[in-house]
Amino acid sequence: MKFLRFVLLAACLATLLPALPAHAARLRVVATVPTLAQLAREVAGADADVEALLAPNQDPHYADAKPSLVIALNRADLLLFNGLDLEVGWLPALVRQARNAKLLPGAAGSFDASRWVQKLRVPASVDRAQGDIHPGGNPHFSWDPRAGAAVAEGLGTALGQLDPEHAAAFRQRGATLAQQLRALAGQERQKFAALTPAQRQVAVYHDSLVYLLDWLGLQQVATIEPRPGIPPDPAHLARVVGQLKAAHVAALLQEEYYPRNASDQVARLTGARLVVLQAGPRDRTDYVSYVRGLAAEIYAVQSSK
């Protein structure tokens, strides 16, 4: 009874509280994954605060919908998310709890990065027997500087709509970053094009590097997961070993948040090198350096073959 009285009293007090300021001095941007957060930081410059909901080494498919994230969303002016259902397991529940009209679908503060990107692997039909496929297309584009460029430009415009005073600066930074990224994309692609066809073959753990491989002109000859999201069985791994040996694959690529037992064994049996990629930039590494670093890491292994 006492408890109920407390709740009622608290509710009454709440109505007396003055409304919280609708706009802080600077825009508050919340990005789901750190790679997109870094992109946003560079477009926003000093004119907005950017925070990421997840850590760089966290698998964005399987994050917990922690209520603490509701607070960040409740106060945000713009939500930058990957889209294509990458965050479907946790983000919708948080957005609904956040009670923030600015972030609802269709609002100016709801920024679906995937809308700016040329999508790859859009399935013609969807059947769960195919594994955990994404009906809108493969969502793992955030490592592709071509996609990054398009998102940076879009973000420049979107931030400008929310804060017209700094619109020109947002657009300018977005355009500059996009230019740098497109230049980087061209340089790296050229560098990889000089590799022999055999050196351009790789194996991966999950179907999450299709944009990266498409950018660098690499060919995915084998996948540790038999279907997206389904862990491998021994028979499948035996087939993968055969595929890697036949193609003399130099590198087995995977993000840090995927299991390594099967990959270690396959690497050991085939002589391929397991390259564990950082899934997000650390310590505010800029986006260009981060993406260039990924390409350099892969190039070092492929060219050494």
Partner: protein, 405 residues
């Protein structure tokens, strides 16, 4: 009448198709009224054809649809109990040895417009169809408020507001069965939620609901009809929850709940239930095997005025669930529920009842799980413990929304 509608629909469809086809027939057929020569017409046809893309443009995803996200959830088991009438209390529990259908739920949800969200859950059992939940709730009210109206599970504790497909054990906790009913506590009503303006997550909720509902409000009016004439003919549920992210890997969620309502024996709010719950979770966020260990404890105390007599009893559970590998989970649950003499709802339940269960679960994918559970139940009114073992299969198909923490 039904045939009439079918014929009408078919006729409409045929008419629509003919209308679509009409312009094409004109282009391919006789010279148009404009009197174009055959050559000019051929040139126009060629130009029109050239403007058509050679192949369909790449799709940007599934065709957008305004349909709600619809999913079907199923749970069934093969069970063996040491007595023919095991004292299971949940409406979705296995009721005896042999094969059991635990649930088939049709779940649908969608935003209604920029202001409201809609959700429903319909349980289809062997005995019929039951509307479990249907409600509309607000998306973004000012003042960090949230309003929900319809038929919904009360926000009392952690287990009550959830559906069986997210439970960590194959049966409903005794706490829910004894204090609320076979389907937990739910009824038609309205709820206001408020996200407190604090730097951390804290949410208060207050709901008023109908107190009469045999499946779900047994400590209230249950199946006793009493028209609502005053405020104390309804049941009220209040809760306060707060979340502490202790570190990236550790989280603590605490809650306190209270429920007041009428019972058939006295006038006024004769039933009071108060409870507390704790959820402590360790999940290293960067672990590739997605391992985690969660401790959940819930305890509640119920007091009922039953015509001059005050009946007090308590119930709760504690469980530990460990995700030990990518596809494997194990768990242990201990439950307790005291009894009181003269209880009109459970006359035999006069002493402490404890139940322990252990489970091991295999997840072939995120959309299915196979669970083996064994349990030992010691109801005070039986001479010997009841042992149970069951192998349960659960699956979800369709688009199913994400769950809260």
């Amino acid at each position: 009448m039904r045939n009439f509608w079918i014929v009408a629909l078919l006729a409409t469809a045929v008419a629509a198709r003919s209308a679509d086809a009409a312009p094409a027939a004109d282009l391919a057929g006789e010279p148009t009224p404009a009197g174009l020569s055959a050559e000019d017409q051929a040139a126009l046809s060629a130009a029109a054809a050239a403007d058509q893309p050679a192949v369909a443009p790449p799709s940007s995803g599934p065709s957008p649809s305004a349909n709600p996200a619809i999913s079907l959830l199923f749970g069934g088991s093969a069970a063996a109990f040491s007595r023919p009438d095991p004292p299971q209390m949940g409406g979705h529990d296995a009721t005896g040895s042999g094969f059991n259908l635990h649930y088939l739920e049709l779940f649908a949800e969608s935003n209604v417009d920029p202001y409201f969200h809609f959700q429903t859950s319909i349980a289809i059992g062997q005995e019929g169809v039951e509307l479990e939940e249907v409600f509309a709730d607000t998306l973004a009210l000012p003042g960090n408020l949230h309003v929900k109206a319809g038929k919904f599970l009360s926000d009392f504790g952690r287990a009550n507001p959830t559906h069986p497909h997210v439970w960590s054990f194959a049966d409903q906790p005794l706490l829910l069965g004894k204090f609320f009913g076979p389907d937990g506590n739910r009824a038609v009503g309205a709820q206001v939620g408020w996200l407190l303006p604090l730097p951390w997550f804290a949410e208060a909720k207050l709901a008023a609901q109908q107190a009469e509902n045999p499946c779900c409000n047994r400590s209230m009016l249950g199946d006793t009809p009493r028209p609502v004439q005053a405020a104390d003919d309804l049941q009220y549920t209040g809760s306060l929850r707060t979340f502490a992210p202790l570190s990236d890997d550790w989280s603590l969620f605490l809650g306190a709940s209270a429920q007041l309502g009428p019972n058939p024996h006295v006038l006024g709010l004769g039933t009071q239930i108060a409870g507390g719950d704790l959820y402590l979770r360790w999940r290293p966020i960067a672990d590739p095997e997605r391992r985690s260990v969660s401790l959940q404890v819930e305890h509640a105390r119920r007091q009922r005025d039953v015509g001059g007599q005050s009946l007090v009893d308590q119930a709760g559970y504690a469980h530990v669930v460990a995700k030990v590998a990518l596809r494997w989970e194990v768990g242990w649950r201990s439950e307790w529920a005291t009894g009181v003499a003269g209880d009109p709802l459970d006359p035999d339940w006069t002493s402490l009842r404890t139940r322990h269960a252990a489970q091991a679960t295999f997840y072939p994918s995120h959309f299915a799980r196979i669970r083996l559970q064994v349990s030992r139940d010691m109801p005070g009114w039986l001479n010997e413990p009841v042992y149970g073992a069951l192998l349960m299969v659960e699956s979800v198909v369709g688009a199913h929304g994400s769950h809260g923490y």
